[in-house]
């Protein structure tokens, strides 16, 4: 089911995220990303499948998304502009629709310099705003140069925004362009300061596109520091690092649940949904959802 239909019905849309592995799915083995997705599937509406995240070469997000769909889990197929030119991107969107994908998240993509193939040629033929506009055109039955499709795609188009970005107005300019280009929902980058999120929402709600609050589960002080040092666009405040550090390792999951629930209770009323990025801790998501009472 398309996320846009859920938003239209006024549902509080909950999604989580899995990352395909470096390797193939073979000999009937259940891949890790599917196991992760199964842990959250009963409680979430859909699961994002990342596209070679952090520019690390992995199993393709389309193949992994199809695995989820076949398992009865609604996939949100992530597609980035980093590795494919406009021909490949359009072709992949046609493929996605043909394989039963209904939800797509259009992103720029992390730069190759952050990944494990730093000598690769960056593509970035088009940007995420243009990708949304092109995908919108495919939904209307034509490719980006105006050729008619034998059958149009039928994809719900999602986009991302980063409320942490400074200057915020510049981020909002791009966000508005994405809304105008056809974005039907936004998932935000992880935010840990409700005040930052509040000032973002006050302006972003004018675009009339549903917003999902994004949150990366903070697993340990080391992980939080790693995120601060290596993941661009996220800032975990020192107070949260101290908080997760205040409990012994065996109590970290409970503490992570507590922190996440607290943030969602504060930020949830400002948005139309929440997007979890559990980074391997999908098992905590059902408990978080049960405690936020949606």
């Amino acid at each position: 089911m398309k996320l846009s239909d859920r938003f239209r019905k006024g549902e509080f849309v909950i999604t989580s995220e899995v990352a395909p592995m470096k390797g193939c799915v073979r000999n009937g083995a259940i891949p890790g990303f599917l196991e992760e997705a199964r842990k959250v599937a009963p409680q979430v509406h859909a699961v994002n499948v990342t596209d070679n995240q952090s520019a690390l070469m992995r199993l393709g997000s389309l193949a992994a998304s199809v695995y989820l769909q076949r398992d009865g889990i609604e996939a949100i197929y992530q597609i980035t502009c980093r590795d494919r030119n406009r021909i490949a991107l359009q072709s992949d969107l046609l493929s996605a629709c043909s394989l039963g994908i209904e939800n797509v998240l259009c992103l720029t993509g992390d730069h190759i310099k952050l990944g494990d193939h730093q000598q690769a040629k960056t593509v970035f033929d088009i940007d995420s705003v243009q990708l949304l506009a092109i995908a919108n055109g495919l939904n209307k039955g034509h490719d980006m140069v105006g050729n008619r499709l034998s059958a149009p795609t039928d994809l719900c188009l999602g986009a991302v925004a980063n409320p942490n970005f400074e200057p915020l107005d510049l981020q909002l300019i791009k966000m508005e362009k994405k809304a105008k280009a056809g974005a039907e929902f936004f998932q935000t980058q992880a935010v840990y300061d409700p005040k930052i999120f509040e000032s973002f929402v006050k302006k972003a709600r004018d675009f009339g596109v549903p917003l999902q609050y994004g949150i990366v589960i903070i697993k340990s002080p080391e992980m939080a520091k790693y995120v601060n040092d290596h993941v661009s666009g996220i800032k975990v405040p020192d107070s949260l690092i101290k908080e997760i550090d205040s409990v012994p390792t065996q109590e970290r999951k409970e503490k992570a649940i507590e922190i996440t629930v607290r943030l969602i209770k504060e930020i949830g009323p400002m948005v139309q949904g929440v997007h979890f990025m559990p980074v391997g801790w999908s098992d905590v998501i059902p408990e978080i959802i049960s405690r936020i009472n949606v």
Partner: protein, 225 residues
């Protein structure tokens, strides 16, 4: 200006292996600015090659080695020296190497023309003698009028045309924390010149056919094909 950097000396020596008598052609234009191919570097290269047992037949740095007319007149009278050389080593950009090669062909010499430098882009001098920056990728479809005179195609690591990615941190690029996010620079500049409203305009995908290489510029008609 065309930016160049010196090839590792081992690579230069490998390229000249088997050629004893070498003529060195520098470039007192861009090569001088980059301190890679000016008269001074040509002298250094001549000294180094001599130390390694090569015979340097001539060493010169024309003013702009990429300009065929310019080096044609510069080389007039040097035909004998070129003829004596078993190979030429050019300390200039990739264009200069090929223009020199073309000139040797005009003279009817089939000697190899080797490159001593790597070409690293269209550069602008920010601090003379210290710091040069790539600011133009020669895309053939300039967007500077829409972006406050700051090129996102070149200065944004992802060449984004409609605003920044989400990766900027403290105003810096996700690829290099020493570099300012091009889109923040554009935004600040557009605010300063009173054109920030133009950033709301959607810029469509670039026409990469305008950058399909190799391009030819017909000066008389202004056509680029």
């Amino acid at each position: 200006m065309i930016g160049t950097k010196k090839k590792p000396i081992q690579e230069v020596l490998e390229a000249l292996e088997g050629y004893q008598k070498v003529g060195i052609v520098g470039c007192d234009g861009c090569g001088k600015t980059c301190a890679t191919g000016g008269s001074e570097q040509v002298e250094e290269m001549a000294k180094m090659l001599k130390e390694r047992g090569k015979r340097v037949v001539f060493d010169l740095a024309p003013n702009t080695t990429c300009n065929l007319n310019n080096i044609r007149s510069f080389f007039t009278g040097l035909e004998g020296a070129i003829k004596k050389s078993e190979a030429l080593l050019v300390l200039g950009c990739g264009g200069a190497v090929q223009v020199v090669r073309q000139l040797t062909e005009e003279y009817g010499y089939t000697i190899p023309v080797k490159s001593g430098l790597d070409t690293v882009g269209h550069m602008d001098t920010i601090i003379p003698g210290e710091f040069l920056l790539e600011q133009c990728r020669e895309c053939g479809q300039c967007v500077l009028n829409s972006t406050g005179g700051i090129c996102p195609v070149t200065k944004c690591a992802k060449s984004l045309l409609n605003g920044p990615c989400g990766g900027s941190q403290d105003g810096k690029c996700e690829v290099d924390s020493n570099r300012n996010c091009a889109w923040i620079l554009i935004y600040e500049r557009m605010k300063a010149i009173g054109e920030v409203g133009k950033l709301n305009d959607y810029l469509g995908p670039k026409d990469h056919s305008k950058a399909a290489r190799p391009r030819t510029l017909y000066v008389k008609t202004g056509e680029v094909l």
